[in-house]
């Protein structure tokens, strides 16, 4: 077999497909094990959390970024550095609240659903990519930022784009400072 220069890029792509395919097989298995969509979503979130608390070490080691000074810097870091590094896509960041602690990441290309056409009818409320929410939540917690992460819109459920909402929860000390 001749090696063309395009081969390396292809191999890189296939590496990523390994993750996507494995994730698909995992979701399929969970759907077999649990009847309710909420259980599958909760399980994916839990697994994502465990992955996130470890992934943050890998991220910080690879990217050597400096400490983020604000929530909006953190959101930008997640979108532009982390997503790019691990999934190869860069979602756009929107700040959706005046208080400055609610952000949303808008993904127009979600690599995890590359091989998924649509959700089956009996699984209409399945959050296919719920693992991502858990990963972000776990990773943020390890840098002492408590947050709630969830899917606001999902292309698989018929919405126009896929949108992940991150709400940074104010730490109790912040409230003390306000007084």
């Amino acid at each position: 077999m001749s090696r063309s220069p395009g081969r390396k890029q292809e191999n890189h792509k296939i590496s990523r497909e390994l993750f996507v395919l494995t994730y698909g097989a995992l979701v399929a298995q969970l759907c077999k094990d649990y009847e309710k969509d909420e259980d599958v979503n909760a399980c994916l979130d839990r697994m994502g959390y465990s992955i996130g608390i470890r992934l943050i070490d890998d991220f910080l080691a690879r990217s050597a970024v400096k400490k983020c000074r604000s929530y909006s810097e953190t959101a930008d870091m997640i979108a532009q550095v982390a997503f790019k590094m691990y999934l190869g896509v860069t979602p756009s960041v929107n700040c959706s609240s005046a208080t400055g602690n609610e952000f949303s990441l808008i993904l127009d290309k979600n690599p995890l659903v590359e091989f998924v056409e649509e959700l089956p009818e009996e699984r209409a409320s399945l959050c296919y990519c719920n693992l991502l929410c858990g990963v972000i939540r776990g990773a943020l917690e390890m840098v002492h930022l408590a947050a709630e992460v969830s899917f606001l819109q999902d292309r698989l459920k018929g919405d126009a784009v896929t949108e992940i909402g991150i709400t940074f929860l104010r730490k109790p000390e912040d409230r003390k400072h306000r007084r």
Binding site: M1, N11, H12, I14, S15, R16, E17, L18, F19, L21, T22, Y23, G24, A25, L26, A28, Q29, D33, C43, R46, M47, S50, I51, R54, L55, D58, R62, M85, Y86, F115, L131
Partner: protein, 158 residues
Amino acid sequence: MADEALFLLLHSEMVAGLYRAAEQGEGENGRCTTKLESMGFRVGQGLIERFTKDTARFKDELDIMKFICKDFWTTVFKKQIDNLRTNHQGIYVLQDNKFRLLTQMSSGKQYLEHAPKYLAFTCGLIRGGLSNLGIKSIVTAEVSSMPACKFQVMIQKM
């Protein structure tokens, strides 16, 4: 590469999650290995399809096994299989001296009893890949000292 970290973490989380669920349920340990292996099978099928889209036709069984040992293993685990042995009658032994999914665990005999859990997915991966190349097989794995392990492929004549 960064993608590898994601896959490694997902894999170890899958193994842990499945076994945790089994413990809370009825304690069916054997079923977890089957589930992992069948997940690997499905992924192997898909992956080999994507991979061999543009490659030339394989000459024979040995050619296919060499492909698995070199190109397939390099793409999935970033290294080649270190040793391939066969008895030319349908049994192949693939030896990997530094198996990627076990390097983080230990080097030696510690945690040896947990190693098989982490090999089930890969056994399925090989079986699925071979299946979509037209070869029916049974794949088992054994570990005597981490992180080296051997995968034994038994070709089933149809």
